[in-house]
């Protein structure tokens, strides 16, 4: 792995961790570094509050274009150095509210693309729109407004959810409006008993409900017929666990989509993690937004089942390189009707 702070390449680092996320506006990284307080370069690179640009590559593949966020210096009888952590350039959108220079907060007749461009511009960020979602990204909202206390990420996520668009980021530090590539070919087929592979499946039963019903308040032109939509969870069929909640954004037209999104949130309660002794598969760094297949009776997965990689954590030190893949059902990121993989 190659780390650069500004244009300076780092050599003496250890305990590196890179967490690549799909369903997020930022990926994160951390590493330890031997800090020489008398080295002018070190002083310049690790100045607290410098928010220096960072790039991380592996085998010529860019993983993160980000900023140095939080240096943590340590000292005792043995020199300990510094632990550096940071995130993608777009991570700032998780930490900041909409700047007043991007006001008004209310947008009338603007699209997700228009709104996102306007809000991220003061941060010096660029917007990339995946062609697969350009139609949805360019369709307009009649009226939408952000809360002044809401973070940029929260607001844009809310808007994107109404258009079935995913808010993500790319390795170059751009904000990305996209859609999960759930129909692509699997990059790997995992089975039980593979050497140096550990898998774990977790089903969060408390998070799941037998049905999800979303209700919307009356609309001014709706003549009293408020929206309502329900979805059944195929993983909760033997017991009665209804979930009734309110639609808090969008129009009557969006009610079914919002209810489906809530079902997706519940389906995130079924997670698969895979630990590997490598960072690459097929000579490419393992990244989120890819499909794998898994067959593992030990995990109650008796037949070959597709999973979607939502995040990949790459860890390495002087001794080993390991990766942890966190996966969910592909239906979490699509509007298709989910099927119970255990039946």
């Amino acid at each position: 792995m190659e780390l650069k702070i500004g244009t300076r390449k780092l050599d003496l680092y250890n305990n590196v961790s890179v967490a690549l996320h799909y369903d997020s506006v930022a990926s994160a990284f951390s590493f330890d570094f031997y800090f020489d307080p008398n080295n002018a370069d070190h002083k310049a690179m690790f100045l607290p509050g410098s928010y220096s640009p960072v790039t991380i590559d592996h085998n010529g593949e860019r993983l993160i274009t980000g900023i140095l966020l939080s240096p943590k210096f340590k000292s005792d009888s043995v020199r300990r150095g510094v632990t550096i952590s940071g995130y993608s350039k777009t991570g700032v959108l998780e930490d900041c509210e909409i700047p007043t220079s991007s006001y008004p907060l209310q947008a009338i007749g603007l699209s997700l693309g228009n709104i996102a461009q306007r809000i991220i511009k003061p941060f010096g960020l660029n917007l990339v729109i995946d062609p697969s979602v350009s139609s949805n990204v360019n369709s307009v909202y009649k009226s939408t407004t952000a809360d002044d206390k809401q973070t940029v990420k929260s607001y844009l996520c809310e808007l994107a959810g109404q258009k079935h668009v995913m808010l993500s980021h790319d390795e170059m530090g751009n904000l990305l409006l996209t859609q999960a590539k759930i129909t692509q070919q699997p990059i790997f087929d995992f089975t039980n008993g593979m050497p140096n592979v550990a898998m774990e499946l977790n089903f969060d039963g408390q998070r799941m409900h037998s049905s999800i019903t979303l209700q919307k308040q009356a609309t001014k032109t709706g003549k009293g017929n408020a929206g309502q939509s329900s979805f059944s969870n195929p993983y909760v069929t033997s017991t009665f666990r209804p979930h009734v909640t309110r639609q808090t954004s969008g129009t009557d037209v969006d009610t079914a989509l919002c209810a489906r999104n809530m079902l997706s949130e519940e389906l995130k309660g079924l997670t698969l993690t895979i630990d590997l002794d490598r960072w690459t598969l097929n000579n490419k760094v393992i990244r989120p937004n890819n499909i794998i297949t898994v067959t593992n009776p030990d995990l109650y997965i008796y037949k070959k089942t597709k999973f979607f990689i939502t995040s990949v954590e790459l860890k390495g030190d002087n001794n080993a390189q390991v990766a942890t893949l966190t996966c969910t059902l592909p239906e979490v990121y699509s509007s298709t009707t989910p099927k119970n993989i255990f039946l």
Binding site: T100, Y103, L105, Q106
Partner: protein, 177 residues
């Protein structure tokens, strides 16, 4: 959550009054439908403080009222008024409480409204009195008429004063300009 905002202007959109207000700071301009009691149609002037309220659905806020600064009504009373664009009073209707003798003020207290039926009664009395007099006049004769110059006696059937009186038509409950 309710927020105090400042009115910029308003437009009518398909029968709804859409208020444009300044919410937070200097550039947080928002629009919201105005909610009022049923049957009440009014339009606030610029710079009025409007109470902006979110609803369950984001992007569907409403204006639920104003901080009126020309309140005069006493407990139990009700007062409607109109202003010019600067908020100066133009005219009003004020429904007083018992202490105000239950009066209705229509823009002032100088004069009184009239009760139509009482006015009609007085008018009809005056009309009858007048018609009776016309009848008497048309049929009167003068006894002792002489040829040539001279005088005659008074008519045998005399008219009488009208008893018409519009005082009961005065409406002490409705005062006006």
């Amino acid at each position: 959550m309710s927020i105090l905002t400042s009115v910029i202007n308003s437009v009518l959109d398909g029968g709804y009054r859409v208020m444009k207000v300044l919410r937070f700071g200097k550039s947080d301009v928002q629009t919201a439908d105005e909610a009022t009691p049923y049957g009440l149609d009014s339009s606030a002037v610029k710079d009025m403080i409007a109470v902006f309220s979110d609803t369950v659905t984001k992007g569907e806020p409403v204006i639920i009222g104003y901080l009126n600064k020309q309140q005069l009504a006493q407990p139990g009373e009700f007062r409607l008024y109109s202003t010019d664009n600067d908020g100066n009073l133009i005219t009003y209707i004020w429904l007083h409480n018992a202490a105000g003798d239950g009066q209705i003020e229509l823009g002032g207290t100088t004069d009184n409204a009239v009760l139509y039926s009482k006015l009609e009664t007085a008018f009809n009395q005056l009309k009858n009195d007048f018609n009776n007099f016309v009848t008497i006049f048309n049929s009167h004769v003068h006894p002792g008429v002489q040829t040539g110059g001279g005088s005659s006696a008074v008519t045998t059937t005399l008219g009488t004063d009208s008893s018409a009186d519009i005082t009961p038509a005065k409406n002490n409950k409705i005062k006006t300009l």
